[in-house]
């Protein structure tokens, strides 16, 4: 592919990502009208408050951190044709364990505790991913159904533990004890919420960028997703690759959960991950970014804008915060169409005369 062609296909992939967003916002406008508000001013609030002032931008980046990670987690598995729908459960489990350990190990100094908890989060994510991974790799059990169902099991287990074993009796609502202040990563700028966790997320992102774009593993993942039979026929060890990809996906989800807990939530509650959940947000981000690293970064920031913006419209207008889930569902729905416009391909042997004439119509007939 030469440069021009590459640029051309990039142009179309951008257009194909923007059209679903526009359609979703268009349908979302109907929902806003139902809430008796002006869609234009509501969307204005959404973007202005999260994009056009310094505080808003840093807030947006703060929320983008875990989203970048869950987006990567989904993308790496989907790109290989594996549907790890368990990101949400892996993220919740990691958040929960980090909340408990962040309280128990509270005496440790910050420089030790913060990295330690991030590692714990990653490990929990991997451990939770082990069951569906092994079932897929060794027995070829449909990983999508298994991960979806295990999410329900995990949610019930964590709910039980939060309501009983690890409940903070002094708290007025169902919640674990707050993590120690030593477990909270320090802020980059004193006045804004952005923490060093964002830097961690970016570093992980860069590592994954090189793995996906430059390493043998990255190419193998793509090959696996495009044609598994062919990939196997070339001698790739599928089983091993499935294990690596699914566990890496779990590790990213775990890191996202740990970071979200330590930099934003500080205690595990039953609504830790929000609605519809950071793991599900990752699905949107991976699709919107068409599974490419750069696309994911842009999509994560975009969706963080929509998310912070939605809480702003909920504050300043009568449109409920739930508008964000509606927009998300609609964007995913229209993204599933994949292509709205296709680059025109010039086929070999195609008569070029009619085409020229057609072109001239627009040029005013001048030859």
């Amino acid at each position: 592919m030469d440069r021009k062609e590459k640029l051309n296909s990039l142009k179309y992939s951008i257009i194909n990502s923007i059209i679903p967003i526009l359609i979703a916002f268009g349908i979302g406008a109907i929902a806003i009208i139902l809430a008796k508000e002006n869609p234009l001013s509501a969307y204005g609030t959404l973007f202005y408050r999260s994009l056009f002032n310094i505080k808003g931008i840093f807030n947006t980046l703060h929320f983008a951190g875990p989203l970048i990670l869950t987006g990567l987690a989904i993308a790496i598995s989907f790109k290989a044709g594996l549907f790890n729908m368990g990101i949400e459960g892996q993220l919740l489990s990691a958040g929960f364990v980090v909340a408990v350990m962040g309280n128990v190990w509270g005496e440790l100094p910050k420089t030790v505790l913060v990295p330690l908890l991030l590692v714990v989060g990653v490990l929990v994510g991997v451990i939770v991913a082990i069951i569906p991974t092994m079932l897929k790799a060794f027995y070829n059990v449909n990983e999508m159904v298994v991960t979806l169902l295990l999410n329900y099991a995990i949610i019930h287990i964590l709910q039980y533990l939060t309501e009983n074993t690890f409940r903070d009796p002094s708290s007025g609502y169902v919640s674990t004890p707050r993590i120690s202040s030593n477990a909270i990563p320090s802020r980059i700028f004193e006045d804004y919420r952005l923490t060093t966790f964002f830097i961690v997320a970016i570093v992980v992102y860069v590592i994954f960028y090189f793995i996906m774009k430059r390493s043998k593993l990255g190419f193998e993942i793509t090959a696996l997703g495009q044609n598994r039979n062919f990939a196997e026929a070339t001698g790739m060890r599928i089983q091993k690759k499935i294990i690596i990809i699914m566990l890496a996906s779990g590790a990213l989800a775990g890191l996202a959960g740990a970071g979200w807990m330590m930099s934003e939530k500080y205690a595990y509650t039953l609504s830790f991950s929000g609605i519809p959940g950071l793991g599900w947000d990752g699905m949107l981000i991976a699709l919107l970014g068409s599974h490419s690293p750069i696309g994911i970064l842009i999509a994560a920031v975009f969706y963080a804008v929509v998310k912070t913006g939605s809480s702003n419209i909920a504050i300043f207008t009568s449109v409920p915060y739930e508008i964000v889930i509606l927009l998300q569902a609609l964007i995913v729905l229209f993204l599933s169409l994949k292509v709205f416009v296709k680059p025109k391909e010039l086929k070999l042997g195609e008569p070029s005369v009619p085409k020229k004439r057609f072109k001239n119509l627009f040029k005013g007939g001048k030859e």
């Binding site: 929902a31 139902l34 809430a35 044709g81 549907f83 729908m85 069951i131 079932l135 027995y139 070829n140 059990v141 449909n142 999508m144 159904v145 298994v146 979806l148 169902l149 295990l150 329900y152 099991a153 019930h156 287990i157 709910q159 039980y160 309501e163 009983n164 598994r228 039979n229 196997e232 599928i238 089983q239 609605i275 519809p276 599900w280 699905m283 699709l287 409920p320 915060y321 739930e322 508008i323 889930i325 509606l326 998300q328 569902a329 609609l330 995913v332 729905l333 993204l335 599933s336 169409l337 994949k338």
Partner: protein, 307 residues
């Protein structure tokens, strides 16, 4: 363990099996036609939302059922238009429908400023359970089988009706041919898209009816997370039974029984009860694994993407 408890477990297992059976029997048509519909859960949720809203505002259960069915047809058309006509990625379209169901539910509830749509006042004078004369007097079996909602009985009758449709009618044969080989179907002049549309819509309508059953008859209220994964449980039943109506039904009944066991044991043992809720989900994973091990002994890895 006394007799009453055992009767309660089996009677409740029919109660829980009803919706699972409806969704899985409907969903197997799409499965047989080669369309993976993971949107069943969302279709059920949208059916529940539509029928609860209609019932809440009209107070008429018949209109509510019709509303649920219409919502099922519409969402089935939406899925087919994207997945079949536009050749979108089924998995993502289905996933989007699941998201859409939760989103619509939460948005509507937030707009109305409530946490659920409670229809208990609307249907208080409506007897949702049927007592079957004669059968209800049989000892042990009577209390189990009798006094269920009409949709439970319908779902069990549907096992045989749909089994007949799939294996003995022209439509059923076409569905299976399309699923086996689109090329072959095309060569004998079957309208592939039409068959796929119908297969998906059957699933969507039955899923919507299951939504009606859970929201109106069982819980008397709609909440945004009303499906509790029943759509995915049904999907697991379809996979385990490889789309054969009677086998799928056996798995659906098995999953219903597990759910009933978990719920009834939970009532007995106090605070650890919440933990028992995981049994059905774990059970399904175990069953899926067992079935997969048996099925894939022969084929191991080659070609498993084509499932």
């Amino acid at each position: 363990m006394n007799l009453d408890f055992i009767i309660k477990v089996f009677s409740d297992s029919l109660y829980f099996t009803g919706p699972i059976l409806l969704v899985s029997l409907g969903g197997l048509f799409a499965y047989k036609a080669g369309v993976v519909n993971i949107g069943l859960d969302g279709m059920m949720g949208i059916g529940a939302l539509a029928s609860a809203l209609v019932l809440f505002y009209t107070g008429n259960w018949l209109i509510a059922i019709i509303g649920g069915i219409i919502s099922g047809v519409l969402i089935g058309l939406l899925f087919s238009f994207f997945g079949v006509t536009k050749k979108a990625n089924f998995i993502i379209t289905g996933f989007a429908i699941n998201l859409l169901s939760t989103a619509l539910g939460k948005y509507v509830l937030a707009l109305e400023g409530r946490t659920d749509i409670n229809v208990i006042g609307t249907i208080s004078n409506l007897n949702t359970r049927i007592e079957i004369p004669l059968i209800k007097d049989i000892p042990i079996l009577g209390p189990i089988i009798s006094n269920q909602t009409p949709l439970v009985y319908i779902s069990f009758i549907l096992i045989f009706v749909l089994s007949f449709v799939i294996y003995k009618t022209k439509f059923g044969t076409y569905v299976r041919v399309v699923g086996e080989s689109e090329e072959a179907a095309k060569s004998v002049g079957i309208n592939i898209n039409k068959i796929k549309y119908l297969a998906v819509i059957i699933g969507a309508v039955l899923a919507a009816l299951a939504g009606y059953e859970v929201a109106i008859n069982q819980l008397n209220a709609y909440t945004a997370d009303i499906t509790a994964g029943i759509g995915f449980i049904a999907l697991a039943a379809i996979y385990c039974g490889d789309g054969k109506p009677k086998t799928v039904a056996i798995y659906a009944i098995l999953f219903g029984l597990t759910r009933s066991l978990a719920t009834n044991l939970a009532i007995r043992i106090g605070s650890i009860a919440g933990l028992l809720q995981i049994i059905p989900y774990l059970m399904i994973v175990i069953v899926l694994t067992t079935v997969a091990i048996i099925n894939h002994r022969k084929s191991l890895y080659r070609g498993f993407l084509d499932e």
